[in-house]
């Protein structure tokens, strides 16, 4: 059993300060310490973890347990460099080569730091207890070097609770502590800030609402001032249909996804509140008017989806946009109506690299474990859209099947992303953090389940019926490369919490309508 931290016993988390670095895709903060070590240094163009490896350098001896031969059970696809290589070397290729070099020993199952037993597919076991201990630790005290996380504490709570839930732990034991932590972050004018006295932010509010859903119960649900939340969302709604993330802050696709999540989980009124000035002037009547059209404008010529119109396609925003569209209506209607599907499929599929097996967030960027969720999480939504109208029964409908390589992703996650002392990471050579731990595990869980919808929804409301009609069943088959013991809990593919947690919050809120 992992250590349980209880009572008022406090201890320091064990990871060093410079390492807790979520790529700030959806989180608000950017830790101050990061990157300082990456300032220009003469003769060292790259930060050390990415410095291109030189073969035969005596100061850099190979750290392999044995010569190059991979463990049995690993296809050559996951141990050989790609078949075509351009002679022209640029920075992109240098970084890609260095990453490949770092990953190969892990993919072959040969790196000295890899723990536990390897199965017949040559894949190491999930170090479940280590990850559980890591996440429990991540809920306790941080040293002062973590001050940059001061605007992201709702996230710290969500990432740890979500990760623990995936690993089979019971998050409800944290209910009182979650309520105590989040209460001072809520503003009387609606929404949650990143901490006490900080203005409300859609990302922080999203993390807070999901954390409350995870611990569940009337006390948690009633903590949210839903009427004030609704009014605040009205003030964030922009004339182009999207949402800014704070009053006076930037507008992007995160905002759209976080807002749709909050509106649908909390059963907020759809009608625009009186003081939704910009949205009313634009002729909108509801919080969701124009939102899908805004997302449509975020599809780039590559086919992927960007953070705001006109910018480069990016995996994290692709998930936010597709999940938001899948809340706004049945994905087989909303996604083809607003996205060019062939372009989107091609771009999304190209995010998976070999031999790494993991996903990159953008064209010509490196694989990163967190995209196991942001990119991996797009697949069930797109596949469901392609499958068309759901079947009445509870059994999975006929399906286009699975359009990416589950095996590749599983190998990357279990082989490359597990940190030797617990926690999961971006890639070998990086330190773990709770952000990556949460989203790498979410990605692993998604590979282990079929996500499908039926015609019955837990909500009787028409608007979000589809969003609450998702089910999951375990993927069974000979070709799974992970062991039975490494199965994780299934998450709702839109809300990124267990299905039941989403249903409980929605149903409780439906029973207490917001007075407008």
């Amino acid at each position: 059993m992992p250590p349980i931290i209880a009572g008022r016993h406090k201890r320091k988390v064990r990871f060093p300060a410079a390492n807790l670095q979520p790529p700030n895709i959806i989180s608000t903060p950017a830790p101050a310490q990061q990157r300082q070590s990456q300032q220009k240094r003469p003769g060292n163009k790259y930060p050390s973890p990415l410095k291109p490896a030189k073969s035969g350098n005596p100061s850099n001896p190979p750290r392999m347990a044995s010569p190059q031969e991979p463990r049995p059970g690993i296809p050559a696809l996951f141990t050989q460099p790609p078949p075509i290589r351009d002679p022209l070397v640029t920075e992109t290729i240098e970084l890609q080569d260095a990453t490949l070099e770092k990953c190969l020993d892990f993919l072959k199952g040969l790196h000295i730091s890899q723990k536990g037993s390897f199965n017949a597919s040559g894949v190491p076991a999930l170090q479940r207890d280590d990850h559980i201990a890591y996440l429990y630790d991540s809920l306790e005290d941080y040293p002062e070097g973590f001050v940059a996380m001061d605007a992201s504490r709702p996230w710290m709570v969500y990432w740890a609770l979500a990760g623990l839930t995936l690993l089979g732990e019971d998050p409800t034991r944290f209910r009182e502590r979650v309520l105590g932590t989040l209460r001072p972050m809520q503003n009387p004018t609606g929404g949650f800030g990143g901490g006490h006295g900080q203005i409300s932010h859609l990302a922080g509010s999203y993390a807070a609402v999901l954390s409350l859903a995870l611990v569940g119960g009337e006390d948690a649900f009633s903590l949210v001032d839903r009427e004030a939340m609704w009014r605040w969302l009205g003030r964030l709604k922009q004339a182009d249909g999207g949402f800014s993330v704070t009053e006076g802050g930037e507008e992007d696709v995160r905002g759209a996804y976080c807002a749709a999540t909050i509106i649908s989980l909390l059963d907020l009124p759809l009608a625009l509140p009186h003081d939704a000035k910009k949205a009313r002037e634009a002729g909108f009547e509801t919080l969701t008017d124009g939102l899908a059209e805004y997302l449509s404008r975020c599809q780039s010529f590559e086919g992927g989806i960007s953070g705001s119109p006109g910018v480069e396609a990016h995996g994290a925003y692709a998930f936010c946009a597709l999940a938001c569209l899948s809340m706004l209506g049945p994905p087989e209607e909303t996604i083809p109506r607003h996205m060019n599907i062939p372009l989107l499929l091609s771009w999304l599929s190209a995010r998976q690299y070999a031999p790494e097996g993991g996903f990159s967030g953008r064209t010509n960027k490196l694989v990163d474990g967190c995209y196991s969720h942001w990119v991996g999480g797009c697949w069930p939504l797109l596949q469901s859209a392609l499958d068309g109208k759901p079947q009445p029964s509870g059994t999975p409908s006929t399906t286009v099947g699975n359009l990416y390589s589950r095996e590749g992703l599983d190998r990357y996650i279990l082989g490359c992303c597990q940190s030797p002392r617990g926690g999961l990471r971006d890639k070998p050579g990086k330190s773990p953090d709770s952000y990556h731990t949460c989203y790498v595990l979410t990605g692993l869980s998604a590979t282990q389940h079929h996500h499908y919808r039926t015609t019955s929804s837990i909500t009787s409301s028409e608007k979000f019926a589809s969003a609450f009609s998702w089910h999951s069943s375990p993927v069974r088959g000979e070709d799974n490369v992970y062991d039975k013991a490494d199965r994780l809990v299934a998450f709702h593919p839109l809300y990124v919490i267990p299905h039941q947690a989403a249903a409980n919050m929605r149903l409780w809120c439906e029973a207490q309508p917001v007075a407008t």
Binding site: N24, A30, E140, M149, G248, F301
Partner: protein, 331 residues
């Protein structure tokens, strides 16, 4: 901050609002941070002046102090922008200071929104501050794919209508020359050439976001300047020749042809140079041919997709299988 606010006469009339970490509820708060004393004190004064919506010099100084300790504190940036505009401060001086902060904290994105808020003030900046492109190139020298900087640069183009500014294209070309795989630079080039101009809402492609237009039509220009299209196609071919296995340049070319409403077929001869029997120099060329053949010669299209599936891009096997199956359904 050497001196504390509590001992400073300038702050004597302010009652700081202490941090409420929720521990009064009796439950131990989660994910707490052992804040440095100076940070705790400064943020308690920040809460107090923000509660009073104070627009003053001392509040401005306080925001700088908090930023120096935690630049990821989004609240303090938004408050600072309000004060700067309310007190009509020298915005160029603010930009100079921001340049240093931006270079120090490369991944921070509060800074970029702050910059956008300030520069969007038409009274201060009827035209773009002339040194913006130089500073952005300095940022790109540190990280040529920095998403926040590119997002900001895209906003600059829209805001100051810089689509045809020679400097924009020069910078993009310099970055692509330095690294032909810089996809962010390719995206910027596409937006300069084929993105929506100021008579329509911003979008990644023209014809997007209008419910009456099918997503199939996204990216297709209503009026095409064929000379410009031909020049872009020539540029793309030159870049493809430098590195044939580079997705960025191939997909740029696809975007150009889509914008012009021209098919992939016109490149069949060029593309064929990269797929010569058993010698394949580019998986993107194979995919291109599959798309060209898919229009009529389905057997050959399947052959191309099978090559991708079996040899050149097998991690995407399920996707290639789906594409093969789609061909069957269409046939």
């Amino acid at each position: 901050m050497a001196e504390s606010y509590a001992n400073d006469p300038e702050w004597a009339n302010i009652t700081p609002i202490e941090l409420d970490d929720g521990s009064e509820s009796g439950a131990m708060p989660l994910a707490t941070i052992a804040y440095p004393t100076e940070y705790l004190e400064a943020t308690s004064y920040l809460r107090a002046v923000m509660a009073a919506n104070e627009m003053s010099e001392r509040a401005l100084k306080l925001t700088k102090d908090v930023i120096s300790m935690n630049p990821a504190h989004y609240t303090v940036w938004i408050y600072r922008a309000k004060i700067l505009l309310a007190l009509d401060k020298d915005i160029l001086e603010e930009l100079n200071w921001l340049n240093g902060v931006s270079l120090k904290y490369l991944k921070n994105y509060q800074i970029w929104h702050h910059r956008q808020v300030l520069i969007s003030s038409k009274t201060h900046f009827p035209t773009m501050p002339p040194k913006e492109p130089d500073f952005l190139m300095e940022m790109f020298a540190q990280d040529s794919k920095n998403y926040h900087v590119w997002t900001y640069r895209h906003w600059l183009v829209r805001h100051f209508k810089l689509w045809d500014s020679p400097r924009e294209l020069e910078d993009v070309e310099a970055l692509i020359k330095a690294d032909v795989r810089n996809n962010s630079a390719w995206n910027h080039r596409y937006m300069l050439r084929f993105g929506p101009r100021d008579d329509v809402p911003d979008a990644g492609m023209v014809n997007a976001g209008n419910a009456d237009i099918s997503p199939e039509e996204k990216g297709r220009l209503p009026v095409v300047d064929e000379d410009s299209v031909d020049a872009e196609l020539k540029y793309a071919q030159e870049q493809i020749l430098r590195a044939p296995e580079n997705r960025s340049s191939w997909w740029y070319a696809r975007g150009v042809l889509r914008a012009a409403g021209r098919g992939l077929g016109e490149w069949e001869e060029f593309v064929g140079r990269f797929v010569d029997g058993n010698v394949v120099k580019s998986s993107h060329a194979v995919e291109w041919l599959a798309d060209v053949y898919g229009e009529g010669e389905k057997g050959k299209a399947v052959e191309m997709l099978t090559m991708l599936k079996e040899k050149y891009d097998p991690i995407r096997k399920n996707y290639w299988d789906y594409r093969i199956q789609q061909l069957g359904e269409v046939a």
